[in-house]
Amino acid sequence: MKTLLPSAVLLALMSTGMAGAQTPGLPPQAPAAGPPRNIEVSATQTSALYVALGEKAGIAALVNDFVDHVREDPLIGVMFQHIKPAHLKGQLGDKICVAVGGPCVYDGETMKGAHTDLKIDRVRFNAMVEVLQASMRRQNIAFSTQNQLLAMLAPMHRDIITVR
């Protein structure tokens, strides 16, 4: 699942916005708006699900396993080839951490923004979920915990699947 633009591109977009549109002779204007900055912070600090996943280290291990395997997936691996794995792992880890009520900040793109042009259908979305399920099994995450995580992430299908 490609979730985020590479950080270099994101930085470039933000810089353009910050440069402003100052015309000589006119009062200084507020900087022109760049792409909407999406910052998500979890409402609660430590939730049971965050703890069950092994907190930051556990989530990092899961995300590490997931990204490594999804890049090799015969059906959807191609979608991940041009993203730096380390960057994706970092952002995904933050995203999941926030989703399960951990003490993190996610400052990447929205799910909708990140997936608009990828033409993801239900088949590919389900394939991604299966890779995640396999990663959770390899990380020995309890089945009930797996389902709780899936329950947190599943509604994102509405933003990620664009081909119906």
Binding site: D121, R122, N126, V129, Q133, F143, N147, M152, A154, P155
Partner: protein, 316 residues
């Protein structure tokens, strides 16, 4: 007509399997998550063992076509039922199913003692069912932040071939054909690993169709609404346990009583508890303990028909 359709259907399924779902049809290899297509019910539709759910059968998800084939055996104190069924799932939207039931009704021979029905020893009742189901709203699995279930409407057109028990059906005034209509709502509470289903069925069938449709008794020939409930707990990626309860009409008891037979023709609700095992996406086994209540208790000393249910399904 049913025979021809059944043969055509079976042929097309075999062809699909043989060419491994050719290039023109998207492969249902990934498709649905394990166990979210239900199992084959005894009427052929995807759902629990006894009742249809709002899920569309097979592994096929949106944009795909898939199929299932199943063999089921139920055995109780006095009766046995064998079912061969198959279903086709199209784009996770439409499901077409066929089921052929063979009901061993050897106790029916005793009916000859009441009247010269001419029932043969070891009589069998055959029941053919064509099913059509359409998902109309909702998403059972992924909308975990909403209460809205997945909803489907369906029909099961049934034709009974009672063999030598035909004269008994004539005496009952019940017809040989009938169509059940139903609406189902299914929801997987993903966080809890709990699947819930409620089905509302409009039917004229007696004992699901085995004793024909409708009856000769005035006021007992109409459709009735029967609710059906299932709950399943996902224990692991391969195992689920659950239970079902199917309310049933009881249209023939009055007729039997009027004929001086007392409650001989009483019909009870059906229920079961089951365990489903799916070691791969392509095979599942369901084992259940069923309680089919009384089935023509007049010839079975009012015994409740309880026993085992075993079903094997291949999915692609």
């Amino acid at each position: 007509m049913t025979q021809t359709l059944f043969r055509l259907f079976r042929l097309s399924l075999l062809t699909l399997a043989a060419c491994g779902l050719c290039a023109s049809v998207a492969q249902a290899e990934t498709g649905k998550l394990l166990l979210t297509g239900g199992v084959s019910s005894i009427d052929g539709a995807a759902g629990g063992g006894l009742t249809p759910w709002a899920v569309i059968g097979s592994n096929a998800t949106e944009g795909q076509v898939g199929g299932t084939a199943a063999l089921t055996r139920v055995s109780t104190q006095d009766y046995g039922l064998t079912v061969a069924s198959a279903a086709l799932g199209w784009h996770d939207r439409v499901e077409l199913s066929l089921a052929r039931q063979d009901f061993g009704a050897s106790p029916a021979y005793q009916l000859n003692g009441i009247a010269p029905f001419g029932v043969a020893p070891d009589a069998h009742i055959k029941l053919d069912i064509i099913g059509l189901k359409v998902r109309v709203a909702g998403e059972a699995v992924l909308d975990s932040d909403r209460w809205m279930p997945q909803i489907a409407v369906g029909l099961e057109h049934k034709r009974v071939r009672p063999g030598s028990i035909g004269s008994v059906l004539d005496f009952l005034g019940s017809k040989r054909e009938g169509t059940d209509l139903y609406v189902s709502a299914t929801k997987l509470l993903l966080g809890q690993g709990l699947l819930l289903n409620a089905t509302l069925r409009s039917t004229k069938a007696n004992q699901n169709g085995l004793l024909g449709f409708g009856s000769g008794t005035p006021g007992k020939n109409g459709r009735s609404l029967q609710p059906e409930f299932s709950a399943a707990c996902l224990l692991s990626s391969q195992f689920a346990v659950g239970a079902e309860y199917r309310f049933k009409p009881n249209k023939l008891e009055a007729l039997g009583a009027a004929a001086g037979l007392g409650p001989a023709l009483r019909e009870d609700d059906w229920k079961d508890i089951f365990v489903a095992w799916a070691p791969t996406k392509h095979f599942s086994l369901t084992l259940a303990y069923v309680d089919l209540g009384r089935i023509v208790p007049g010839i079975t000393a009012s015994r409740r028909q309880t026993g085992g249910y075993l079903s094997a399904q291949v999915t692609f």
